[in-house]
Symmetry: C2
Subunit: 248 residues, 2 copies
Amino acid sequence: MEPLKTMSVVTDSPCPHRHNVNCGDCRMKALCLPLALELDQVEQLDRIIQRGRPYQREEHIYRAGDAFHAVYAVRSGAIKTFAMTDQGVEQVTGFYLPGEIFGMDGIAHTHHISSALALETSAVCEIPFTRLEDLSIALPSLQRHFFQLMSREIINDQRLVALIGKNSADERLATLLMSISTRNAKRNLSELRFRLPMSRADIGNYLGLTVETVSRVFSRFQKQRLLKVDKKEIEILDLGGLQELANV
Amino acid sequence: MEPLKTMSVVTDSPCPHRHNVNCGDCRMKALCLPLALELDQVEQLDRIIQRGRPYQREEHIYRAGDAFHAVYAVRSGAIKTFAMTDQGVEQVTGFYLPGEIFGMDGIAHTHHISSALALETSAVCEIPFTRLEDLSIALPSLQRHFFQLMSREIINDQRLVALIGKNSADERLATLLMSISTRNAKRNLSELRFRLPMSRADIGNYLGLTVETVSRVFSRFQKQRLLKVDKKEIEILDLGGLQELANV
DNA sequence: CGACGCGTTGAATGTTGTCAAACCGAGTGG
DNA sequence: CCACTCGGTTTGACAACATTCAACGCGTCG
């Protein structure tokens, strides 16, 4: 009876984007901010978090120039963040999957210097930053965890610099695919079959390549039987081969 | 008499690398961690900071694999941070000048994943991280300031990604030179004449270019009368021209 | 149906990397 | 004092990978 009840709770979950989920129930709690917290502390965190209706594809979470007042956690869907260089060229700075935090680059200023938009229908938790700061003083483990999250963001960016600065187009794309694959695995999704939420242009922009090159590399990977590609649907046929190309 | 005394205090400063300087007297206090703090708070910060003898050229401040226990502030000299990719290739992740904080990528883990070494004789303030965390709880403005510092590091890395991913060798080097120039200006040093503390190889590594390309671009800039280059001594002849090439 | 966005493919071009050689200054030792 | 080496830098010739420009295919939506 008990297991049945649990089952039903899991299976009749009506929609992955529903907004009446608190941190304690969220399927991403093991990856996200609550990770470092005790049960009662999660409740305190939960009280400051704001959850609105889901964002539709192409909808902005924030835009460069908006006043900064929160960081965000992805609950479902996928988010891309990007900045404009002074010459008006877009630079994609990241892709964020459920359980991941974005918007930390806004902390340094009073206004956002980059933008964030939903690549598909996405639910997002808004974490008002001044309240997070206050709570971090009450909960040292939250402070520590947030320092670590920001540090991890720095490490990720540095790895991206190395990837773009030192690796070929093949290696760059293989690394991105491996990244998405392993991040999917952590979310109990298939690491071998998934749908890319972003366009070829976004991928190229992120990796410092042109759309044409991205397209060619996908074709090459297919010829080499590393992948099966159908538009945005990806099937990894040779995980080892891809891993060998990627910078782990 | 009063001005004379002040003069003498400034001029007989025996050595820029001396280690018996507290934050309140440090010439970098307006750029560094104390920036956000009141006078008595600076004293509290000062008490947790450790200052050893200066590091010599090529000496490591920490190595990848060392236990992480502190972040660092440059007091004098210049520091380069770098990581090894799994293939054993060095990746330079940053150059740090007086008043700047480095080592924040270590916060995410118990051990450093990158290394830091002195490019020239350098004095460094060591800030034990657990004590900084404790103090951040007592001094909310310190917590805020440190969050902002980390955010700024993220922004810098993202800008580097954009630079390497989207710009030519000329633009990359021009941007680095402009960065050093403006950072020098903030330290009341000449923005038009300075000595690069790092080798051509370091520059190339950092910018995702080969040594040969870096060298060629320096030559090209000289032919175009943008720079006068004598080994590591740089004189900017056409600041506007350089700025135009750089991504501001 | 035609227009449009997105992705793919081809051919030509070019910037940067690779390989090789030479230079230069500093330091060393005969 | 000079010859020597050594690391860092510069320069040249060539090749390669990615970009650019162009065309085309495909699906969607008006």
